[in-house]
Structures are given as structure tokens and as C-alpha cells.
């Protein structure tokens, strides 16, 4: 499996994402935001967490306009697998690859702690390592993770099985407790929690390991 992790000025989870993917068996290249072309033969793109461009204007807004993001959007629209975590999720909504937007947390505070997530759709490349309805513990670290979309979009996401994860206890005011959403073809996933920060025993919690293992397995066998 050939993976790329995009790096913006202010990204700070790119290395964690790279390690989780590589440790799961992927061949990973990090790609700078000013590049306009992706490496050839890619199976997967990771858009990491962090504070791209200092969160200026809106979280992810400026990164979404960077040269590489045009290529990321094209890749996603052609059916490629794209995963955005935290700031990466914000970037993917800003590009329009995923619906909705992330608002300031309802409590207005930056939240950094491990939270329970409920696996709402275990039939995607990202979630096959879990059982439907399984509760996993994954860290969150964000100020703007309050997911919102218009009522029609929310209903559609639910009906089409495009809510990948919900929060066990809503930490940020997110609509319908949504923690992660999928594209219509279930190949683009954006989520606020960080599975790459719960990947190995040294993290004190390895609930995120199955996420990357199943993803890489799926790509290798495809």
C-alpha cells in the first residue's frame, strides 16, 4: 500500500500518522503543501492534525486552498481513499470533499482528553477492525470540533451509513454526537479524534491500532 501524508506549515500530527501507517505495513511519503503533484500510484492520502497556517481566518481554510489540496480533492473525487484527522477533517470540509463544517466547541474551551467513541458503521475500510456498536477510547485535542450541517445533510449522513463514529458523551456540542463522517462512497473519512495517538502500548492505549491495521490490510488485499 502506497500512502502519502500531506504536511502544511503548522501540521503537528504528520509524523504520528506516518508512524501508525508505516507500522501497519504501508509505504509512506510525506508531501509538502506547495507541491502540486502527488506521488504516482498512491492508494491513500492522510491529511494530518495540527494548526495549519495558524488556524488563521478559519481552521483549515487556507490549507484547503494550497496547491496540493487541488490534487487531494481530485484524488478523492476519482474514488481514492482520503483520511483527514482533526485539522485534517476541518481541511476536508473546507475543500468540500466532506459535507458540513466544524464550529467552535460549544463550551468555548480547547479540549484535550481521551473520549469514548461508538463505531456506527463497521463496514468501511477504516472500521472493519471493530465491531458495529463497539466503544473505543480515542484522544481528542481540539478547539473547533463542533460538527454542524443542515438538517437534510444530517439526515442523509445517517440514512446512508455515513456517520463512522459518534461520541459516547458529547464533548463539544457536535450535531447528533457526530465524531467522524464518510463520503458517499465511504472512502473519504474525516474525524476529530486521533486514532494515531492511541496506536501503541507506549501511548497508554492502543484502541486506534485496529483502525490502521484494517485500513492497510484492505488496501493490500484490494
Amino acid at each position: 500500500m502506497k500512502a502519502a501524508v500531506i504536511v502544511f506549515p503548522g501540521s503537528n500530527c504528520d509524523r504520528d500518522l506516518e508512524v501508525a501507517l508505516r507500522d501497519s505495513g504501508a509505504d509512506v511519503t510525506r508531501v509538502w503543501h506547495k507541491d502540486s503533484e502527488l506521488p504516482s500510484g498512491l492508494d491513500f492520502i492522510g491529511v494530518p492534525g495540527g494548526f495549519s497556517f495558524g488556524d488563521y481566518l478559519r481552521c483549515g481554510a487556507i490549507a484547503a486552498q494550497s496547491p496540493i489540496c487541488k490534487a487531494v480533492v481530485e484524488f478523492g473525487q476519482k474514488g481514492g481513499y482520503v483520511f483527514g484527522v482533526c485539522n485534517g477533517f476541518q481541511i476536508l470540509t473546507e475543500t468540500g470533499l466532506l459535507p458540513g463544517a466544524l464550529l467552535r466547541n460549544a463550551g468555548l474551551k480547547y479540549i484535550c482528553r481521551t473520549v469514548p467513541l461508538v463505531v456506527q458503521n463497521a463496514e468501511t475500510a477504516y472500521t472493519r477492525g471493530y465491531e458495529q456498536g463497539q466503544v473505543i477510547n480515542i484522544p481528542i485535542a481540539h478547539h473547533d470540533g463542533n460538527y454542524t450541517a443542515d438538517p437534510d445533510t444530517l439526515a442523509k449522513l445517517k440514512d446512508e451509513g455515513r456517520v463512522a463514529f459518534t461520541y459516547g458523551e458529547n464533548p463539544n456540542g457536535s450535531a447528533d454526537d457526530i465524531a467522524g463522517v464518510l463520503s458517499a462512497n465511504k472512502r473519504v473519512l474525516g474525524m476529530m479524534p486521533h486514532p494515531e495517538r492511541a496506536f501503541e502500548d507506549a501511548h497508554g492505549n492502543s484502541d486506534g491500532q485496529a483502525f490502521f491495521r484494517s485500513l492497510v490490510e484492505e488496501m493490500v488485499s484490494a
Partner: protein, 76 residues
Amino acid sequence: MKARVHVMLKNGVLDPQGAAVRRALGTLGFEGVEKVRQGKIIELDLADGTTEDTVKDMCEKLLANTVIESYSIELV
């Protein structure tokens, strides 16, 4: 020439910052503040002859996220 772009959360989108400002005003003793919405103003210094349509394009592409925000343009 200058353009001033006002960006606000759309009606119906919860604005937790505006709500916190409203509560703080109440704490200070200002009565009758029923609602506060917080937005932003972006001032642009532009080459003469830049059209409002161009500024509108800037809003659509970058300055506002039209999923959650509305904008208005003032040429000054």
C-alpha cells in the same frame, strides 16, 4: 479603493461565542441584551477598478465558508 467584507454565522447556526458575550454583558449589569452574534470584518485594499464581482468571488472561494457563514460586501 477599499472593500470591507462582513462575515457572520448564518441565522440558525449556533454561535457559542455570541452567547458567551451576551451572558457576560448580563453579568456586567446591562439589561435587555436579548441576543449577540459575533462575526468578523475583513478590510481589503484593492487596485482601482476591482469589481464587486471579484470581491464576491474572493468571499465564495476563501473569505467565508458558505456552509455556515453569510457575507456582505461594502465598497468604500
